[in-house]
Symmetry: C2
Subunit: 365 residues, 2 copies
Amino acid sequence: MPLLINNDEVEQILTMADTLAVLEELYRDIGSGSAVYRPRTDLHTPTTTGLGPDIPGAHYLKSMDGAWPRRQVASIRLTSDVLAYPIQNGLRRRVKIPAAPGNRWLGLVLLFSTANGELLAIMNDGVLQRFRVGATNGIGAKYLARKDARTACILGSGWQAGTQLMALCAVRPLIEDIKVYSPTPGHAEEFAQEMAATLDRPVRAVPSAEEAVEGVDIAVTATNSRQPFFPADWFKPGMHLSSMQRDEATDECFRIADVVVFHTRAKEQNYTSTDLADVERRHGFEIRDHQYPRDLDWNAYPDLGELVTGKIPGRTSDSQRTLFLNSIGVGAQFAAVGHHIYTLARERGLGRELPIDWFVESVHP
Amino acid sequence: MPLLINNDEVEQILTMADTLAVLEELYRDIGSGSAVYRPRTDLHTPTTTGLGPDIPGAHYLKSMDGAWPRRQVASIRLTSDVLAYPIQNGLRRRVKIPAAPGNRWLGLVLLFSTANGELLAIMNDGVLQRFRVGATNGIGAKYLARKDARTACILGSGWQAGTQLMALCAVRPLIEDIKVYSPTPGHAEEFAQEMAATLDRPVRAVPSAEEAVEGVDIAVTATNSRQPFFPADWFKPGMHLSSMQRDEATDECFRIADVVVFHTRAKEQNYTSTDLADVERRHGFEIRDHQYPRDLDWNAYPDLGELVTGKIPGRTSDSQRTLFLNSIGVGAQFAAVGHHIYTLARERGLGRELPIDWFVESVHP
C-alpha cells in the first residue's frame, strides 16, 4: 500500500544528522556510477492566473528523476509552479504564487520500488527539499572547510537558510560564532534569535554583508540573487565559500579558489513555449531564469560524488580557498532521503495508506 | 479535487475519432512551438525481482513531460517497469513482468493545470497509451498515404495493433481489405476476426509477411523487432509505410522513400547504473534497448508538427513512397489526450475524487 506522507510528518521524521548520513552514502554511489539521475527539466508555458494584468507570469513544470540501487528505490520529484514577476522596490522579483486551491503550492515526490516497480509513497516535497539542500552544502563543507572552523556567516535568512546552518554546525561542531546578514530589515534579527535556540550557540545579525563575511572561516550564501555579488576580495585565504545559487560568487572567486567543487555538472534543461514570447513582448521583460552570462566552463569542475569518493582531493592545507556550488539538485537526492522518510514512517505508523489498486494496472503497452 | 481515472473509465470515454482530433490540434501547436515537451528519459538500475536467477533483469523508470497552452494543461507520464530478458525459442526476448502487487504493471499520467498549478487527475496510462500511438500513426497516414487508399496490411497483432487499424480506417475510410500477419501461430486469425467486427470491414490473416505486404496501398509495422526486417523491395511506388518501432524498416527504405517524416526528432535519453554491468557480465548479455546501429541522421528528417502545419509538404503524387516513423512518444500527447479524458470524465461523473489537500502544501522552497 503506498503511503501518503505530508510535510508535518516529514518534519516529525527527518533530522539533519540522518539527512547528512543518507546523502553522503548516496554521493559515494553517485561517485561510483551505481546511483543515477537525469538533469532537471523545466517546461515553461503561459498561465492565466497571476498577480494582475500588468505583471508577467508563467507556469513551470519541473521534474527530476533518480534511482539508488543500494536501497532499491527510484523517485520522481515534480513541482507545478505558477510564477509572477512583479516589480518591488524598483527591482524585478520572481514570486511563486500559491495559486492552487486553498492558496497552496504543489511539489511532490513519488517513490518507487525498483524491486517490484510498485509505488511506495507520495510525499510533499517542501520540508524534504529544504533539508536536502542544506545537507548537500553540509557535505561540501565537511570535505572542504577547515576542520578547526570556528566562525561562519550566512548571507540571506529565507526558508533555505536555517537548514544551511543546521548542516554546517553538524559537520563543523566547533563553530561558536555565526553572523547573519539579510537585506530585509528586521529579518536577520528574527532569524538569528530562532537559529541561536535551534543550534544552541551564538547567532547574531549584522548590518552589512561585508561585516558578516569579515574574518569568518566559512561563508554561506543563501540568496535569490540573479547576479553575482560576492567579490573576490571578500574571499580570504583559508575560507570556505558555500554557495546555494549559480549567481552569487563572482567569476573571480572561481578563478582564485584553490579547490572548486560543483554539486553536479548537470544543468537544468529548459523547454519554453513560443507563446511566452508574446507575454514578454507585452511586458517588455524576459521570463527566463539564470540569464546572467557566466564566464565558467561548467564541465571543467569536479562534482560532489568525485569529492566524496576521493577521486579528487578536498582541502589539503589550511590556507586554501575552497568553493562549493550547489546551484541545482538531482533526482537521486529525493530517492535517497525519500526512502529514509518512508522507512521511518512505516516503522512509526505515520502517513496515510492508499489502496495500491489505484496506481497499478492489468494492461501494459 | 483531483480525479483518479482508471483504464476501464478511459476505455468508456476515449474514442479513436476524438483522439485523432485532439492530437491533430496538438501537433499544430507543436509545429508552431506553442506546445512543448522534453525527450523521454529512462533510468536503468538492477532489480531483485525477475524470472529466475539465470535470467537477466532490470528496473526502468521512464518519464516524459509535456505542456499544451491551448488547454492550459501539463502532464508527466511515467512507468516503473521490471524487465526480464529470457531466451524463448532460441531468441532473447524482453518481457515486462507484472511484478507489482496483484501481478500488475505501473504506468501513470499526472495531469496539471497550468492556470493554477493544481493536480487535475491521476490516470492509468495503458488504454490512453494504446490510443495515442495508434492515432499518431493515423495522423501520419492522413497526411502521407494516398487519399484513395483501399488496401492495407499490418505486420504484428499485439496490444498496439488494434488501435493502428482503428486510426487508419478513420483517416482512410475507403479501405476495404486488410491483411494481417503475425509470427505467433493462430494469433493473426483471432486478431483478424476481432478487428473485422470492430472495423466492420474484411480483415484476413495471411501466412507470411511478404504476402501481407504484396499489393497494399498502406503497410503498417507494429512489431517488437529489435532488428530492421522490412526490405526496400517490399516498399513499392505509391505505398505508405507506417512504422511503430525504430528497427522495422531497413535503411534502404529510408533512402528510397520520397517523403520521410519522423514523429519527433527527440531521442530517449538513457542513464544506466554501473551495477547493471555486473548483471550483464554474469549473464553474458547486454541489457540495452535499441542497440542496433542505424545509418540514419535522425536530425535530417522533418517531424509530425512540421507536416501538420504545412511547413513541409506531405505526399504530392500518387506514385511517391512515403514513410512515417513513430518510434518514440512525447509527453505533450499525454497532456492533450489526458485533458480530453479528464474533461469528459468530469462531464459524465466518472472517476474517483481525491482530496486536493493530499497533493498540495503550505510551504515552498
